[in-house]
Symmetry: D2
């Protein structure tokens, strides 16, 4: 009998209720299927649950496994990422997650959002200036300075980085793999959302702007899938915050239900199996239950996360 891990469900009247206080309300869901081949089974680590925090409230959620399995959880303090691990036996494994999430992002006029001098960036944020596996900012220093060094610092410069990617990198499904990094993408001039995010992150760090990788459920992303976007640490009217950017232009910054944040994709895989397993294609969905306006993009600077 399937295990229903519904302890997290906080409400039963989900979905229809509008988001409170002007928040936008989204329903998100995914279904992941695996065939575990390893005879002794295999541990799986998942990061598919929506983050909880000031600008993103999980109203209701339900996690279901197809087997009654040993299971443990961990919310990473420095990121808020919610990981769970399943010790799956041999055979089929299905994981389903459904949630209703309210987003109340802070918005600001882009011109009011500045870069923060390194001398004032909180020390716990500085780690996002360092190069990581898939965002080798140390190798792209001169490239970044030549292309973007002369631009006025601020939200507009990160937007310029994203615009450059849109103009110079072709979005091509299947054109990269799990080893592809920012330097590869810059040479090969094509990639998927993961690659766009890595290259934008590498450019930001090379410019002295802390940046990190965000996995998300993205409203109106077509075709539906997990999405990857970027957060850059900037200083808005209310102080330092992580501002959202999508260099693929496939999703609106205020239509992102954030799952995991990290240095790069290495840290926020939605599923890491540790043993032989066949993976099905993930089914991912997101609906706006209550969202003012219809635009899939926004000209505002958007932030959900503080340090």
């Amino acid at each position: 009998m399937p295990a229903h891990l519904t302890r997290e469900a906080r409400a039963t009247d989900a979905g229809a209720t509008p988001g409170k206080n002007g928040a936008m309300r989204y329903r998100v869901e995914c279904e992941l299927g695996y065939e575990v081949l390893a005879s002794g089974g295999a541990p799986f680590v998942f990061n598919i649950e929506a983050q909880r925090g000031p600008g993103q409230e999980v109203v209701e959620e339900e996690l279901t496994l197809s087997q009654d399995l040993p299971f443990d959880r961990f919310t990473m303090p420095e990121s808020g990422n919610r990981y769970f691990r399943v010790l799956a036996g041999r055979g089929g494994l299905t994981v389903r997650y459904r949630a209703v999430v309210d987003l109340a992002p802070r918005r600001a006029a882009p011109a009011s959002v500045r870069e923060m001098p390194v001398g004032r960036v909180p020390l716990e944020v500085l780690t996002h200036l360092y190069p990581s596996r898939y965002a080798e900012s140390d190798l792209l220093q001169r490239f970044a300075r030549r292309e973007f060094g002369h631009l006025p610092p601020g939200h507009g410069r990160v937007a310029a980085v994203c615009n450059w990617l849109h103009d110079n990198i072709e979005y091509a499904a299947g054109s990269s793999d799990e080893h592809t990094s920012a330097r590869d993408t810059l040479l090969q001039r094509r990639g998927v959302c993961r690659d766009f995010a890595h290259l934008a992150i590498a450019f930001c760090r090379a410019l002295g702007i802390p940046a990190r990788f965000v996995s998300a459920y993205a409203w109106r992303l077509s075709p539906p899938d997990f999405h990857a976007v970027v957060e850059a640490w900037l200083e808005g009217p209310e102080g330092g915050a992580w501002f959202l950017f999508d260099p693929t232009r496939k999703a609106a910054a205020d239509g992102l239900v954030r799952i995991g944040v990290g240095r790069d994709a290495a840290e926020v895989a939605f599923c890491s199996p540790w043993g032989a397993a066949e993976c099905g294609v993930p089914k991912v969905g997101i609906q706006a239950l209550d969202r003012p306006g219809d635009a899939a993009s926004t000209t505002e600077a958007v932030t959900v996360a503080a340090a």
Copy 2:
């Protein structure tokens, strides 16, 4: 007049007193000199102070700057790394650190230290299985499995990784730079302590063993300098812990006063200046004030850090 940041000094009779409870007592020190060229000055982030924790006690310490400068501190919760930032003005900057540290490492017979199955590794430790900038374990999967996959798992397998490095990689001062990563070292077959550590870490992760980079004051390291070694997450008689390894064989695992731990060198640079500056050669020292025995190496498995 120089600023004496001596708030941390906990004792005045330092040094002569033997380590308590059989601990080994070391005096460590470093002096770092810079010439700041940027007209507006530059922020510097340092990570030179000894970690504080169960097996490593800071008995006394003193940090001195040559200028009275804006200064802030941060101890990273997930690592225990102690960072401080200085906003240096144009001109000379000297940083001095002196400490007396007691080490009381836990020791175990290597044969009693096992690998921990991924299904039981604490989720907060799992992040050290992911590839990082300078330890691209994803690229070295087959190499690692071919060389080390057939060996019996445990402390001995990590030791075998270190032995392989000793036998196959030439230690050559000046042979690498700040962009050199594990894959480069594996091809070029030479490097310095930083490179040895990165390659050992990459191999461990590729084998499913969490591993991280450690910067340290290393007793009897010749010539004296900051050292880089490796910690692998293994399971000793008292449970999971980070066990120390030095693939360069230049220092004893029980003679290491740990400074910073991280995914790789990107996270634990002893100094990161953010602006134009000339860096002098660091002066680094370590003396054993009280240490039983004279051997610069040990055949025991050694651990200081829990998760």
Copy 3:
């Protein structure tokens, strides 16, 4: 009506006649199919015809194209490679080649084959000491010297390089692509014949032994396909010559009908289309019409080509 380019056919009684003077006689054939998509057609350059030279005599051959097309030929003086170019129109293109070839390789006891000091290597051969696109010998100097530098120079050292590849690199169909080079193969520890050849070549050059890439019809290769092997410039009892090696151990050195030689695969592609085209799977065949003995391998040193 198909064009029959049979001007090269030198005999009509082919096949049944035994090779003269103790030569081994082979029949080789290939059939290549393409669908040209470019509306204006596309030029194709082929290198599929057997080389002609002292130790390899083409007794009879026939080249057939499915269309009557503009066609030109070039035999590269420095390599003996026989290229032809076809200006194919839109639609289907089929190329068939059949030949009967006598091989009369020189053989020598491996122990009698020495390395030739660089000071005596003919200057026109020295070019094969330089690094090339897929055999980056400059990057593998230390690796090669560490693994093979201590071995006695000669045929046995090149054989040791090939043995190392056999023991350390997994042969895995589909595991590499047209961008894969020796350094990639060395890290990833798997590849196909092309990759084995590139890595062996890079090691030889790094050791000061001129080496080049050879494409060939290979007797008993399973499954049948174009094969890639290595020639190293060594000094046998009769002087300097290119000695054949197959680091995959899939074919006998005396069962190779050589097609193209070059610095690496970039120069001897069996087909280079310059325009949009779909490529079918090549059909390749080789039969021994007259071959003493049955062994698919040989312990002798084998050479066909002089400088």
Copy 4:
């Protein structure tokens, strides 16, 4: 006593006589010094002598070695490169070369110089479409097509490639080493003449334009040194030819006395020592003995070499 290898000197009245038929006359010279450390001596291969051919005539030349040494020569038929090899004994070795060379380049209006379709490029030239060690055109296909694919084909497109390099790559002495290749330069955005040439070559090949590396004595190069430029195969009013380009803009295309041509720098090193030796800084000089006009650059398309 020094050996004077003056057999090549063809005239004694050199230098003062003006170039015939409107040719420009240059005096070139270099002096190279080495300290051979290998106890048994070491072979050296040099490529410092001016090419001989239709548009470049060597009027007079003299080659001098500081020792009377075993010596042999080779002119590579496919390139015209003139190599000589010296078996140097332990100790000092000095090589001096002086020549008077007449250049009679063909000139054409850039707009009259077209790209030649691959179907018509001579087959012996096609080899310069393949990727080579330092010009990995296979990796830069999309980059090249995105940046230059939309430009009208012809001399102007190669000039546009060179202009892009001038605008995007910083010329910085000492910023690269002998392992640096086009992909590195594209990421790091700086280099020396060798790197500019490699990247321009890689872009041309990726666009379907055969291109090769040229080492040269370059009039008015400052500081004086061996120079590296590019030849692209294009079709002028008189047919296909190799047209000269200098992406560094440091020398005029009609002020280049060509030494070696090849796939890339691997083939035309001015000196390759095979053994331990210390190399002094080469002294290189070039003077115009008879040159109409004073301009160090030209707006004409310039070619010296046919296929």
